[in-house]
């Protein structure tokens, strides 16, 4: 716990226009990398980003449930995006935690590396191409074309739905 110095993502003040991201002209996404790929989550849904923390594994839980984290006295469930998305490569030794609240419980999504908060324009939105593997596509709401790459948008509610139905 003492190792955790939280860098609170500074997007929360934009919350007023968040929520309906499809409606807005532009929206902001908190981005991160998993296995070298860039993903984004609606910045208003991200509670905070936390440095690597001690994880208590949960025996018998599915592979993508990595364990439990003590987030300042709150027990947070860590979900491995690599496992969830079915990405096969050598994982790094430590993970960053993207902490979100899904259905009232705190979930920490394990990312390899944290990117910037990116502002995107509505016109750059594209639906998820069918070629994206189903494991990942089921969690994506679409992609944004940004200057130097493509940003895959993760809908955390879909993750929540998946978690609750899978187990």
């Amino acid at each position: 716990m003492q190792a955790a110095t939280e860098s609170r993502s500074d997007g929360s003040k934009d919350g007023a226009k968040g929520g309906g991201k499809a409606m807005a002209e532009s929206c902001q996404f908190s981005t991160f990398y998993v296995a070298g790929r860039l993903y984004g989550i609606d910045v208003t849904r991200v509670q905070e980003v936390v440095r690597p923390m001690h994880i208590t594994p949960i025996p018998l839980a599915p592979e993508y449930v990595v364990g439990l984290i003590n987030l300042r006295g709150q027990v947070t469930t860590a979900i491995g995006l690599r496992e969830l998305f079915g990405l096969k490569d050598t994982p790094p030794e430590t993970f960053m935690n993207v902490v979100c609240r899904i259905d009232g419980s705190l979930i920490s999504l394990q990312a390899d590396e944290i990117g910037d908060v990116v502002e995107v324009m509505e016109k750059d939105f594209e639906l998820t191409p069918q070629t994206v593997p189903a494991e990942v596509r089921q969690f994506m709401s679409g992609i944004y074309k940004i200057s130097d790459s493509l940003l895959s948008i993760i809908d955390i509610d879909r993750i929540g739905k998946f978690l609750n139905h899978k187990l």
Binding site: I58, V65, L68, N70, R72, V75, L106
Partner: protein, 987 residues
Amino acid sequence: MANMNKNSKEEAALVEYLDECTEMLERFSKNLSLMESGKVSPEMLASIYREMHTIKGNSQFFGFSQVGVLAHAMESSLDPVRKGTAPITQALVDGLYQGADVISTLLAGIRSNHKEPDLHKMVSDIVPRLVDLSANFAPEVRPSEITSEKSDVSAAKVHTSPDFKDNGKDTTRNGEVGGQTSPIPEISKEKDLEEIEGFVLFDNLPDHLKLPVAPTVVSTDPQEAVSSAKNEEAVLLNIDLSSKSGDQTVKSIGDEVQSETIRVQVALLDNLMNLVGELVLIRNQLLQHAKINDSDSEFGKMSQRLNVLTAELQNEVMKTRMQPVGNVLNKFTRVVREMGRELGKKIELNIYGSETELDKTIIEAVKDPLTHIIRNAVDHGIELPADRKALGKQDTGRLNIKAHHESGQVIIEMTDDGRGLDPKAIGSSAVSKGLITSDALAKMTEREIQFLIFAPGFSTAAAVSSLSGRGVGMDVVKTNVERIGGMVDLASKPGTGTTVKLKIPLTLAIVPALIVKALNQRFAIPQSKLVELVRIDRSDSKSEKIEVLQGSPVLRLRGKILPLINLSEVLTHRDQSQNSLKIHAFDVGSVNIVILNADSFQFGLVVDAVEDTADIVVKSLSSFLKEITHFSGATIMGDGSVALTLDVMGISTSVRMTAESEAPGIGALDGFHEYRGRHQMDSSEFLMIDVGAPGSYVIPLTVVSRLEEFEEEDFELSGEQKVVRYRNSLLPVFSLPEFLHLPFSSERTRKEKTPVVVIRRGDSLFGVEVIQIQDVAAFPSNIDQTVRDRPGILGTMVADDHVLVVVDIFGMIDAVKVKLAVEAGVGAGEGDLGTGVSKKDIPNKRRKSRILIVEDSSFFRNYMRQILEEAGYLTETACDGLEGWSALENADPKHFSLVLSDIEMPGMTGLELARKISDDRKYSHLPLVAITTRFSGSDFECGRAAGFTRYLEKLNAEKLIVEVDELICKVSSMSESRKELKLASSN
């Protein structure tokens, strides 16, 4: 009142108003129920009146006209009663209750929508009735009648009143007077009171008293009150009332609440609780740090001080969440009253211990289960007055609710004296609903049948009434109570009543737990489930031993066989079908076993290490993890890491499934495992063995001494008898399949090891060789002895659809023993008194003789009862010494002709019982026979000293009858023979 502060935010004021009104309504209802039961005091009436008045005033302030109108009507209808000019009628009480109901509905509406819901119809229905009530009585009021209810007292007061008028020193009284009179003028404005002489008196009250002063302001300036007291009658009236209150012990509930309290949001307390939780964690880290750096003594002292303070703080914060259970219980007065009226039943509800405190969340959680139990008691339990009279009961049914603390738990007991639970009705209902087969039902004890009401989908109500029996039944009660870590127990006697007992933990917030290690991580086990810790050292042959039962390890702990579960194994394999739990896991070094209690059956959990105990704050897991039933939550440890808390029930279930899937044919007994958990008393444990024939064979576990496995070369032959060198002697080994001459004895392949069940009989050991030892399981033990087609079979048991054959081990040993002339060393109890009775007298004697069987194992109890009853004896049974003793005490001394008693029983043992009986002269005629599996020479001496005349072996039917016959038929000479024996033993 304070909430009139317009400067504060409107929202806050509204919430305050709603809270206050709700509180007042609650008190109002309580007082009303007191009033209805006839416990009226003027003080209380004043309080009721005052409360309504405040509600009225506040509601009008906020513009909630419906509440205002209703409260006003209620207030008005109370006025004549308060003044003693009208009696309290049922119509009035009913009207007030209805009014209170509508008001609370309105308040609930306001709370959620900030708007009064439209209940004009209901309001306009109630208001005229209330107005009528007050109007009916008002005109009858004459000055002389004002105090007519207690004319003597009032007359006396009239004379003393001038003293008060002149004497302004009696401030408190007059102060009260001021407070109480204040609302009255308001009424006088509402009605045309000019014609009513009684009220004319108030006309000349000073103006300041005519204002609707908030009545809770009791301390009106005494001077003013006195000055207002120039209106003599007003003073008189109130003095009269207050003097009456001095005579009566009934206190108005309103006054209790006048203590120094403030209202706080629960969320704030929860927050506080969490923060303290975190403080505790930091404290723990600090203490650890201090331990390491013990050179700095000043730092050590400070951390110790912080430690103490934190603990105290935690304790105090916990207390803020505690609430008296009465908050819930007192609501039942209302529920019972209304249901009683609807059903035409007379019910008296008594609540004891309503001050017992419980955590708020727990109170909330038990509210519904409690309501359901109460409803059940009123609806199904208590009979109609006519029926009760016919049964010779008082026509008013009694319903008692008792709450008290007991060893860190709160016990809530609900007892009614109604018709009780009829096992027949329950049984047939359960069968017709398909919850159980009629065969299985026939094998169940009364208590087991009564427990069927907890089965899902069960409801006995002949017709589903609007009150209870709405499909959700006692099963929901049970699950809800168990969810918060509580327990439900039930005791019922048909015809005399039912008691439902809830055991609930004080708080959910902080749980004392044991921290264990497995899989290199820590787990917390709630202490409430913990029975003991056992450490087994492999190198120490004297210590307890882990044995293998069909590939599964078991622990024999003080004669009890406990299944073992290896925590690491259980947590590694999600799919439990391959039971990889192997004995070799325990082969090295020492083993730590945590003995746990899962719903009253026990098992051992093998852990890698036992760390420490700690008070933990259990936090729930994400909803999608709830399906891993092994964990009940997570907690944050002193070092800041997270540990999972184990769900003992969940773990036992997961492994039980394994046990069942492994042994084919037992899986279908699922239902019975349920019963085993609930009341161990009424089922016995059996060892399931494979004798090489289809079907399940069982041996009562109580006769089993050990389970061993021998190599083929261990077996030797002594003559024709197979023997094994075992513990410095020879163990004769019999083959069960051979003995039973089972036709289907299949060609079995030579195995390396042969399992042997070691039976102790008297001082000797016998080995019974079987093909396989399968499992230990508990079954309701009713043995059907009709199928005994060959010696060696005691009878059959039906458990669900399966027939279990009970092997008569002792019978078999006897038979083999005779054949081989092996000296078994038994028969210490065979001291022959001679059979001086002619054979033909015996059946007659048997029919007239009643035998008391005292035995805690229901299997043996039923077994002995059946044998004796078949022989023609009358029997009565008791589960332990105490029950046996009270059975004796409650009957004529000559009622019983003989007492058969087990030695080892919970509570009062057989020896104690025997001493008690032989100490009492009136039972000097009564022969006492000990029935036991355990008798060595010294046991026999002990028993004889206690007063037992004979020792009999359990499970030896013939011997039992012979001995009993002998004793009963020679009963006249028994007292002498016992004296002789006692003498002999004391010499």
